[in-house]
């Protein structure tokens, strides 16, 4: 299998990038793609009494695009993130409170090689790349804020090109040439929690895209779940040889916490 394409760079994640929020994180998609800062406030009072859920936590997601104001597309992404988080967050631990997530798109991928330059995330463009980064950023933010969760989840974007190749994490130029784009999110125990597709594809392609996304998300976390990818993976142009999204999330937490662990050792000496 050829991993020679420049697709293997892993996404980047840093926890606690904002000082005043209860939790925050910055997530950058692979190859300097869409970068999003998430700020999480939890648990807070629900502003409107009518929004209060007696036995669960109300989740509010605000997404702000890199330019202009949020419109229909952003509202749609917010709704998808909110619903995905509802399946992951243990809302009954803090009933009648709110989990507030604010997402700011800091930069989008751009490519100047084409005439006029291609930029992701514009009003005419797909929202799936923003959705992928936004979901990963919000999960990281929740992790930093100490939100009680059943599991961690990660999302990956997969494109199917005109010649039927599957591309995990396609770049902005590659996206232009894809016939369909798919976003899948999985929890650490391998359950699918989100799927969104755009464009035209066959059910077989869609299933293969799901497998590619699964290995891109889970990486080395759950080998037994993606064991069958290697068999299907013959026509995937770029298997994620690098880290999966969940590995990146774990690394980010380690980077944040090990400092404290190191301090612990120092103090005991």
């Amino acid at each position: 299998m050829s991993n020679t394409m420049a697709m293997t760079e892993s996404p980047k994640a840093i926890l606690h990038t904002l000082v005043n929020a209860d939790g925050s994180a910055t997530y950058t998609a692979a190859n300097n793609g869409c970068q999003i800062i998430a700020g999480v406030n939890y648990p807070v009072e629900v502003p409107y009494r009518s929004d209060e859920i007696p036995e669960s936590t109300f989740i509010q997601v605000n997404l702000r695009p890199h330019n202009g104001v949020g419109m229909v597309k952003e509202r749609h992404v917010e709704e998808l993130i909110m619903r995905t988080l509802q399946t992951v967050v243990l809302g009954d631990e803090t009933p009648r409170t709110m989990l507030q997530i604010t997402l700011q798109v800091v930069s989008v991928e751009s490519d100047e090689s084409l005439p006029g330059g291609v930029k992701g995330g514009g009003q005419g463009e797909t929202y799936l790349d923003v959705l992928t980064s936004a979901l990963n950023a919000s999960i990281l933010g929740c992790l930093d804020a100490g939100v009680q969760m059943k599991a961690v989840a990660g999302a990956a974007l997969v494109g199917i090109s005109q010649d039927g190749r599957l591309i995990a994490g396609p770049s902005v130029v590659q996206r232009k040439k894809c016939t369909s784009l798919h976003v899948f999110a999985f929890t650490s125990d391998g359950k699918t929690v989100l799927m969104e597709s755009e464009g035209k594809c066959s059910v077989g392609d869609w299933k293969q895209a799901q497998q590619v996304a699964r290995s891109a998300v889970l990486g080395t976390v759950n080998k037994q779940h993606n064991g069958d990818v290697a068999m299907n993976g013959t026509n995937t142009s770029s298997e994620y040889s690098g880290l999966g999204v969940l590995d990146v999330i774990r690394k980010a937490l380690e980077a944040r916490v090990i400092k404290d662990g190191g301090q612990r050792h120092e103090s005991q000496d």
């Binding site: 939790g23 969760m149 961690v152």
Partner: protein, 245 residues
């Protein structure tokens, strides 16, 4: 002592890694699985197991402070009613009440007189959702303010720090700079740490300058994660600045 282990939400922790005593105390972020007796982590962080105290919890350095019984906090006096003082802990927790007689040696006739915005170092007695938080300034078993030194705080200044740093200060983890600074400041300084991210500092001999030095040191330690050497450097820098005036 257990080696630090990092867990993510959804990870299972085998029963063998958690104290099994009847009196064990399972803290934040661990959810028991009744079938297997193992535990599932619900938050990400460092698994903190203390076999001596039979406690286990997952520590998160910077999540929001939520009052729990047994926490030491620095509260600010807001109002007074017949039997209670009403105090402020932080912006997102409900008002706290402190019985006027819950001070060392307080009787109906001799009870502390608090003025608006006075500070009190107190212990949380009970904290429940949608109810006032109850505080106390005495140890219920002895009726004394010791060993925590509870009671009104006079003089000094309060600095806001992150809950994570406050926790570290209370456990004396990697806060060498404080010891160092105490040894080098004239007459040392007094410090009271509240779990709610407030640190009260008083420096009777070195005065406001000394207090500011400690406050500056705290802020630097909070903003950047400093190692042992960097903390020493920081103290040297602060002392040099003070001497210059």
């Amino acid at each position: 002592m257990a080696t630090p282990q990092i867990v993510l939400p959804g990870e299972y922790i085998p029963a063998g890694q958690i104290p099994t005593s009847q009196k064990r105390r399972i803290g934040h972020g661990l959810r028991p699985d009744p079938d297997t007796g193992s535990f599932m982590a619900t938050i990400g962080g460092l698994l903190d197991v203390d076999w001596r105290k039979k406690s286990a919890q997952i520590s998160t350095p910077n999540a929001r402070y939520i009052p729990k019984p047994g926490d030491l906090v620095i509260a600010q006096f807001r109002a007074s009613s017949t039997d209670y003082f009403h105090l402020f802990i932080n912006a997102h927790s409900p008002q706290a009440i402190l019985p006027q007689l819950a001070f060392e040696g307080a009787t109906k006739k001799t009870r502390p007189q608090l003025k608006a915005n006075d500070l009190v170092y107190a212990k949380v007695v009970s904290a429940q959702k949608n109810m006032d938080i109850e505080l106390s300034c005495v140890n219920p078993s002895t009726g004394k303010a010791e060993p925590d030194g509870l009671g009104p705080l006079t003089g000094g200044m309060v600095f806001d720090v992150s809950p994570g740093l406050a926790n570290r200060l209370l456990k004396k983890q990697n806060v060498l700079a404080m010891d160092d600074l105490g040894a080098r400041l004239q007459g040392g300084f007094e410090i009271a740490v509240g779990r709610n991210g407030k640190v009260w500092v008083d420096c009777p001999e070195a005065g406001v300058k000394g207090i500011c030095a400690v406050g500056w040191c705290l802020r630097q330690m909070d903003e950047t994660d400093l190692g042992e050497k960097e903390q020493k450097k920081l103290v040297n820098k602060i002392m040099a600045e003070i001497e210059r005036g």
